[in-house]
């Protein structure tokens, strides 16, 4: 159990770091988008590279930030029933959910998106638009993001198993599901 929790701890740290990167992508994409508009209007200059980098950063924030969002337990739920059952039942729903819903899907998607990235990388795929960007960096975000979710999924699973087995991890074992705000 101890080893599993050490694993969870390490993965939390990794997701944290990627979460920071994803945060910055928000600001960067926003600044670039506003900059694009100003420059195009002001000096009639722009390029598809600067347009494409916006959605590259968007893909980055979504994929690299998803595991951190999971760690914060902020992926939204239909909590019609979930909100009214006992703490233990909630733990069980989460455990079954990770084992049967989330992990198989995310493992499958990691496995599927890797060759998708590799094909683009090997062929040095570019953009169909004049002056656009290489495609592989943004395609790499897919397997990386899904793999991070797999890692974090196991981490969350182990935390809940530990709590269920009575391991005392303090009140901050994992974050209760709640709003991401305030």
């Amino acid at each position: 159990m101890k080893a599993l929790l050490a694993y969870s701890h390490a993965v939390d740290w990794i997701s944290d770091k990627f979460g920071r990167i994803a945060d910055w992508m928000v600001l960067l994409s926003c600044a670039i988008s506003a900059g694009n508009a100003f420059v195009r209007y002001g000096i009639s200059y722009s390029s598809n590279a600067w347009l494409e980098v916006q959605w590259y950063l968007f893909a980055g924030m979504v994929m690299l930030g998803a595991s951190y969002t999971l760690k914060r337990n902020e992926h939204v739920r239909v909590d019609l029933l979930y909100g009214s059952v006992s703490h233990t039942t909630r733990l069980w729903i989460d455990i079954l959910g990770f084992v049967f819903f989330m992990l198989p899907a995310m493992i499958l998607l990691t496995w599927m998106t890797w060759p998708f990235f590799m094909d683009s990388f090997i062929r040095n795929e570019g953009s169909p638009n004049a002056g656009g960007l290489m495609r592989w960096p943004v395609k790499l975000a897919l397997p990386v993001g899904f793999a991070l979710l797999v890692l974090q999924g196991f981490a969350e699973l182990f935390k809940r198993i530990a709590v269920l087995r009575g391991v005392d991890m303090g009140p901050d074992a994992f974050l209760e599901y709640k709003k991401p705000e305030q």
Binding site: A37, M61, T69, H75, V76, V78, F101, T113
Partner: protein, 469 residues
Amino acid sequence: MTLDMMPPLMFGGLVLFLLLGFPAAFSLSAVGLFFGFLSIEMGFFNEAFLGNLPLRVFGILSNDLLLAIPFFTLMGAILERCGLAEDLLEGTGQLFGKVPGGLAYAVILVGAVLGAITGTVAASVIAMGMISLPIMMRYGYDMRIATGVIAASGTITQVIPPSLVLIVLGDQLGKSVGDMYAGAIGPSFLQIILFMLFILGVSIFQPHKVPPLPPEALQPRGWPLYWRVLKGMVPSIVLIFLVLGTIFLGLATPTEAGAMGTVGAVFLAVAQGTYSWKLLREAMGNTMRITSMVIFILIGATVFSLVFQGVDGSHWIEHLLSHLPGGKTGFLIFVNIFVFFLAFFLDFFEIAFIVVPMLAPVAANMGIDLVWFGVLLCINLQTSFMHPPFGFALFYLRGIAPRTVLTRDIYWGAVPWLFLQLALVAIVIVWPESVTYFIDHGPQVDPSTVTIDVPLPEAPDDDAVPVFR
């Protein structure tokens, strides 16, 4: 088990999986994969078919229209944190101070203005919710009215141009986006009026649900108040005009306008002296998590709809549609009821892609104006964001509402607004001019009188002798 049993089973499975309460994004992908593997087992398609998933996920991530989500969320988060948005609503609230329902009117109006800026429901609902829910809670609004008016006002954006739904519908109906936008103007005003009338009704019959500001919150009338209200409102109004203005001046595309608004919000926060590095840092983090959460719902949904396509879900729906009653009005009523119920299970993308292409030729044959038809569907599809328990607007609202807000209240809060939207559908059916009046029919020249006569290259020089070698 036969192929045509799969689509209804998938709908059933969707409800069951989601109700368990595991995060919606992963439940959606799980229900898709569950039926996917079942279909492979039954031989409806092979494993290779699921290999289309990476392409679909990449399609979502490379859809630059979705950039509006982080941009407008960041703008909302900054406004909310530096107290600007609160000032706007407080200001409007103070003006309507003594009127019961004053804050709700303010929310509807702000929702409409926001709707004229942004085209995606997620961006609008999230920004509205972050700004106005805490204020309404503070002044003792009934929780169901508060969540309902926010979700509904947040979804107005998809009827008011610019709108992703209208773009997709126009594309599917083969009508120009410009016509769709023009046609939607009338109904969007009608909707705002309808929403306000509802609040008026509530304030008359159940005034305790929409209390006026308490006397201690109400500032004495007079110049000091007007000045404070003005000072609170001006920056936000400037910001809204900055966003709309940059589109209007041709400085920014509607998507970029969201980023311009964020830059403006930062400047306003600095000007107000409320800006801090911590504020921006928090707003970034918040925006990242909301964007990731929203897009992962779309990723989950795409797993579901790929399998739905694979089991011939579109044929199943086509079959359901084959028993349509005759007559224009009968057809319209039936179609709208059908779409209303379908919207419980499918989101507007799927309805637009699967159902609309089957309906369009039938409608065209009946002589129904396709722009009118599209706007009708657009209003109806607005309900698909509001259906408890799976409406995406309700998910988004749940995602940002404080814990003390019960999910039950969000669901029940949505119900009256569903009926208001249906009422609007009925109004637009009996009064087509509310749509067609605003469509620019262009200069009315009879095409048959037009002669196309472009200049020809000059005739060859008569003396030129062809040379053969």
